[in-house]
């Protein structure tokens, strides 16, 4: 079976654990529980008739004084970069993380998840920011860990891209 390691990265509170839980267990909890270190989950998906075992590394949120150790990313095939659509500062942090990863480990294929798309009234990512992300050439998904919107589609998109690359 094909194995792929995917790291889920982003600032604290953007919904990394919720997205993973929605994808792996089809569960969502309103309660926010701060992640420590890394939690590794697995899910087997079908990509063009091939079984692919995804190893999902749900890594703690990046903070000013608590950087993500790049050792977690060793052997990673892809990155889900999660941004909270209601907090533009998390977009800046996503770019900082990617820059650091690229400096230390080189380019790793990644996609952007603009999460919390169900919170339309609080949405704060404007069209310019969206365009800027699209201009990087990496896929951008509007997701909601709460409703499940685009969650499976985004994980499958990255899995397919990694298998067919």
């Amino acid at each position: 079976m094909i194995q792929k390691k995917i790291c889920i990265l982003g600032a604290a509170g953007v919904g990394k654990t919720s997205l993973t839980a929605q994808f792996v267990f089809s569960k969502f909890s309103e309660k926010y529980l701060s992640s420590m270190g890394v939690k590794i989950d697995r899910k087997t998906v079908d990509v063009d008739g091939k079984q692919v075992n995804l190893m999902l590394w749900d890594i703690h949120g990046e903070e000013k004084y608590k950087k993500i150790p790049t050792s977690y990313l060793r052997g990673a095939s892809g990155i889900m970069m999660v941004i909270d659509g209601t907090r533009p500062a998390t977009l800046e942090m996503a770019q900082e993380i990617l820059q650091r990863v690229e400096t230390e480990l080189g380019t790793i294929p990644h996609i952007y998840l603009l999460n919390k798309s169900d919170l339309t009234d609080a949405w704060s990512i404007n069209d310019d920011d969206m365009q800027m992300l699209k201009n990087t050439g990496n896929p951008v998904f509007l997701t909601s860990a709460k409703t499940g919107d685009n969650v499976e589609a985004s994980f499958l998109h990255l899995a397919t891209a990694l298998v067919t690359a």
Binding site: G13, G37, V38, P69, R74
Partner: protein, 341 residues
């Protein structure tokens, strides 16, 4: 304290025993440059649910190490949450002296759970702060919200004198529209036009002083900005007219009524301060030019921006305006500068 003395052996032994007991270490020696188990020791049963056989691959029992072995250079995976909810620090290193590769597992559950409590509180506070900033930002703009959050937003309760620019904008023909349409439709239309008016003001570092029915009073220059206050107000006014025009086009396509706005801008001395009692306070700007801006707005036609002389003089790059002569209520005859989109 004299730090010259080495740590006595007995202390070292106690420290080592204490930490070994706390960390419950397990170690696995790998056949050099492979992922095969050569030997193992310590409390390895508490880290693995399956039996570890000598000569077998560690990655089949510990699949998250896939892609990381053989050990090319030392690395550490801190706080890995295991299936039994224990947190483990995993250290991988090569001993150059003995040419051996090692994996060391240490139980850090206790310290991680303690840290998590602090982390949880800190993250919740940060999320709450972001949420409050966002809510406040909707009323007073991002800049004011940021300053309020940083504690750098201060107003002198006795009043501070400053040159500011005041902008009034009002929807024309709103009263008859209100009387001839369902309240739900009116509310929807009002929100659409308000969006066109408020966003440009906030984007240009303006402060929304009041929303008066179908109109808005905003002040510029209260907050430090790279541009001058008249420039900010004028840019906001042009943006408002452009947004209203685009909205009207969209409403026209949908077969809905179209409304226009008139804008008045004036610049001058004002006293800024806080009005009200201890329980309910509001920021306000008082000055003669404030009244002038209001009067200019009530004379502005649909699509028109009327500015007083002080505002036009303060503009860095004034466009070509039409000079108009007006008789304003309570002010009398005055000149104003008109720009119609």
């Amino acid at each position: 304290m004299n730090t010259q003395h080495p740590i006595p052996d007995i202390i070292s032994q106690h420290l080592a025993a204490y930490h070994i007991q706390t960390l419950a270490p397990a170690w696995i020696e790998l056949t050099p440059q492979t992922d095969q188990i050569q030997s193992l020791g310590g409390a390895w049963q508490s880290y693995f649910t399956t039996n570890l056989e000598l000569g077998s691959s560690i990655t089949s029992a510990c699949e998250y190490l896939q892609g990381m072995l053989p050990i090319q250079e030392s690395f550490e995976l801190p706080q890995v949450q295991m299936r039994n909810d224990k947190y483990t620090d995993i250290l991988a290193f090569h001993d150059a002296q003995t040419q051996t590769d090692w994996l060391l597992f240490c139980d850090v559950t206790m310290s991680t759970l303690q840290l998590q409590e602090y982390q949880q509180a800190a993250n919740e506070l940060n999320l709450l702060k972001d949420q409050l900033n966002q809510t406040l930002g909707r009323f007073v703009g991002e800049e004011v919200a940021q300053r309020a959050s940083n504690g750098t937003l201060q107003f002198n309760i006795a009043g501070e004198r400053k040159v500011i620019t005041t902008l009034f904008v009002d929807i024309r023909g709103f009263t008859p529209f209100n009387e001839s349409h369902d309240a739900q439709d009116v509310m929807h239309a009002l929100n659409q036009y308000m969006d066109c008016m408020l966003k440009p003001i906030l984007e240009e570092a303006g402060m929304v002083d009041k929303i008066i029915g179908d109109g808005v009073m905003a002040v510029f220059g209260v907050l430090a900005s790279d541009n001058n206050s008249a420039d900010n107000a004028f840019v906001a006014a042009k943006s408002i007219q452009a947004k209203v025009k685009a909205l009207n086009k969209q409403r026209g396509n949908e077969g809905q009524d179209q409304l226009g706005v008139g804008i008045g801008i004036a610049t001058g001395d004002a006293v800024l301060g806080i009005l009200g009692s201890h329980e309910r306070r509001a920021f306000t700007a008082i000055g003669r030019h404030v009244n002038l801006a209001a009067r200019l707005e009530s004379n502005a036609r649909i699509g028109e921006i009327l500015l007083d002389e002080a505002s036009v003089t303060a503009l860095d790059n004034p466009p070509s305006f039409a000079l108009v002569s007006l008789t304003l209520k309570g002010i009398g005859k005055t000149h104003a500068y008109s720009l119609t989109s």
